[in-house]
């Protein structure tokens, strides 16, 4: 397998009210061709900021600070973090495209759907307006919007949420990118429409062979789409592995806690009020607890161990990484 995208020791910070706040800390991962990698976490985990860093969409310094390295296969080992904006503009769309949670705010309300797709194509490819329009109609059809040719003339507000997200996907696919970053693409949609969009993304990935970086808070969606999964908490990776391993045998107490906070069909026998919770809430990035960031909320916390830095990301075998000082004794206690 060849690495399409490599993120090495990525840290991202912002300047807020005169203070420097680091919201992504030392993130490392690779995305392989044709693979779907999920970044899972709650708000404040740093998952969306990581994707904005890859896309070069962070505010310029000094409002933001980045360190580390992001390399894209075929870009002569240049670091995307230091790439000039003119070059980055070519990478964006052409090599890496992105779709967002709320398609209504991502689409321009005063232009027709067709005009927006045509613009996306023509800003990167020399193509006649007519040819671009034909291509736009093909894309609209490919993303499952019925009556494609007629739909090119509609405005975003005339479409439902699900249809708008399909338009966003059509724009993202217009330049046949190698990587699609999907930031909570189904969170604002109803479940029946969410299922349609996930089906569509899976089909498109199969047909085009693109890689996907899928950002979500929903383990159900993760199980549906991802080959590999990274769980993030307070700006750090806390667990990584194949989706099957992470979901069926989570080693980090945060991962297992999150999963048992969601009712499952399997837990049918549970009575009301037996829903497990994680006490407390995500820490303020300007004021992180020492040692493991999760320790104040963790039911397995041991004083003098979990609150003492450093807490390294350890290899539990077969590419299953976990950031927990107690993962071994917790795994033994379980068996």
């Amino acid at each position: 397998m060849n690495a399409l995208l490599t993120v090495e020791d990525l840290s991202i910070g912002f300047r807020s009210e005169g203070k420097d706040v680091t919201v992504v800390r030392g993130v490392n991962f690779t995305l392989e061709a044709g693979q779907t990698l999920a970044l899972v976490g709650e708000s404040g985990s740093g998952k969306s900021v990581t994707s904005l860093g890859i896309m070069g969409l962070l505010p310029p310094p000094p409002q933001s600070r980045t360190s580390g390295r992001i390399t894209l296969h075929g870009e002569k080992d240049t670091d995307l973090l230091t790439l000039p904006e003119s070059h980055m503009r070519r990478v964006r769309g052409d090599r890496i495209a992105m779709i967002f949670q709320e398609p209504l705010t991502s689409l321009n309300p005063v232009h027709t759907v067709g005009a927006q797709i045509v613009e996306a194509i023509r800003s990167h490819r020399s193509m006649t307006r007519k040819a671009a329009r034909t291509r736009a109609a093909q894309l609209i059809e490919q993303v499952g919007i019925p009556d494609a040719a007629a739909r090119l003339g509609t405005y975003p507000h005339e479409l439902s949420g699900g249809m708008r997200q399909r338009v966003m996907i059509a724009i993202a696919l217009a330049l046949e990118p190698d990587i699609l970053i999907a930031d909570e693409p189904t969170t604002a949609l109803d479940v029946t429409v969410q299922a349609q969009i996930i089906d569509l993304l899976r089909r498109l990935q199969r047909d085009t062979g693109m890689a996907m970086l899928f950002i979500t808070h929903d383990f159900g969606v993760v199980a549906d789409v991802a080959d590999r999964t990274i769980v993030m908490y307070a700006g750090e990776m806390v667990e990584e592995g194949s989706t099957r391993t992470v979901l069926s045998r989570p080693l980090m107490p945060y991962t297992s806690g999150l999963m048992s906070a969601v009712p499952k069909l399997e837990t049918a026998g549970l009575k009301q009020g037996e829903l497990q919770t994680i006490e407390g809430f995500v820490p303020d990035p300007a004021n992180l607890p020492p040692g493991c960031s999760f320790h104040p909320r963790c039911r397995h916390m041991r004083e003098g161990l979990c609150d003492v830095p450093p807490v390294p990301l350890e290899d539990a075998g077969a590419g299953h990484l976990v950031r927990c000082k107690r993962w071994q004794d917790l795994a033994e206690a379980e068996t």
């Binding site: 708000s43 949420g161 299922a195 159900g220 549906d224 906070a261 049918a268 009301q272 809430f281």
Partner: protein
């Protein structure tokens, strides 16, 4: 009123909104947001109301709260027809019903401290309490919803989303209401916090003897808190039954689809499963289709579905109501 009479009863409740169209606003269209809902909510029970956006579930919640005057139909609270109630009666009934909103960011006044927010309903309804008395009641209520009363003088921006929702719950419960409408109270919260809020509502329901209407789109969470579950589609009810029966053994094809669409965090079942996605999206409530409203998207559609509107009727030998021609022929 006897104790087994329902606290809330709606009979063929309709909430239509006129929509002006055409050059002079003459061609009048109607949004049939709630189109004939008949349901009881028994005392000290929780009714879960689920459906997609556009199903009319929030409009129904607002109608039951008396926030909108219904277009037609009857709404009874504790046996009193709300349309016939005198102003004094209405005021007395109002303090017995409260609401918890979805967004704990926009539903709290950013310039009011917790003490002030919780003091507002007391100022209206409990005139004999002085400022000190109101503050004591607010502090007591904070502890009940799991917030340290030391935070009483803090402002909304100093709290996390989950804590703000606790403030919203405290504000609803400080008048010790009998009935609470929770409109998507957990949808804006992080996963780890959702379970905390659901468990809190469950505890408060028991300790305060509350009757609740719990509106949400997430069926799995609704099942946890509800005794009965009602499924709504395009302004009308398609299925009502015991919450766990509806969840584990859905009868209406729409309920089946809703439950099957909810992804499970189990890779073994998920990636191998056949696609559960159904065609189409919820139609506009302006153009309600003839016959069954779900017929256009239904995987089990029959010719009769496009012609006759199915009635919400009980199934034989079962505590369940379903509006579907599959069961009533």
């Amino acid at each position: 009123m006897t104790d087994d009479a329902p606290l809330i009863r709606t009979i063929d409740l309709k909430q239509h909104f006129p929509l002006r169209a055409g050059l002079l606003g003459r061609a009048k269209l109607t949004v049939k947001a709630v189109d004939g809902i008949t349901i009881d909510i028994p005392r000290r029970s929780v009714l879960g109301l689920v459906g997609e956006s556009g199903s009319g579930k929030s409009t129904f919640g607002r109608a039951v709260m008396g926030l909108e005057k219904p277009t037609s139909g009857t709404l009874e609270f504790d046996g009193i027809d709300m349309a016939q109630a005198s102003p004094d009666q209405t005021k007395a009934l109002r303090r017995r019903m409260q609401m918890v909103f979805q967004d704990p960011f926009s539903s709290l006044n950013p310039r009011m401290s917790v003490a002030e927010t919780l003091g507002v309903p007391l100022r209206f309804h409990e005139l004999e309490l002085g400022p000190a008395g109101r503050r004591d009641r607010a502090a007591e209520m904070m502890e009940r919803v799991g917030l340290p009363s030391a935070y009483i003088d803090r402002f909304p921006h100093e709290f996390s989303g989950g804590q703000r929702q606790r403030i919203g719950i405290a504000r609803a419960l400080i008048m010790e209401p009998d009935f609470v409408v929770c409109d998507e109270p957990i949808s804006a919260l992080d996963v780890s916090v959702q379970a905390q809020v659901v468990n809190l509502l469950n505890d408060l329901k028991t300790s305060m003897g509350l009757t609740m209407l719990f509106i949400a789109h997430d069926l799995s969470m609704v099942r946890y808190i509800s005794d009965r579950m009602a499924v709504m589609y395009l302004g009308s009810l398609v299925e009502i039954g015991k919450a766990s029966d509806v969840y584990f053994d859905p009868r209406h094809p729409y309920t089946e689809v809703l439950i099957a669409s909810n992804p499970e965090p189990d890779p073994a079942t998920e990636r191998q499963r056949a696609s559960t996605a159904i065609r189409g999206e919820i139609p506009s409530p302006v153009n309600v289709p003839a016959g069954c409203r779900f017929a256009g998207r239904c995987p089990k559609v029959m010719p009769v579905c496009h012609e006759q509107t199915p009635q919400l009727l009980p199934l034989l030998d079962e505590d369940r109501l379903v509006a579907c021609h599959l069961y009533h022929q």
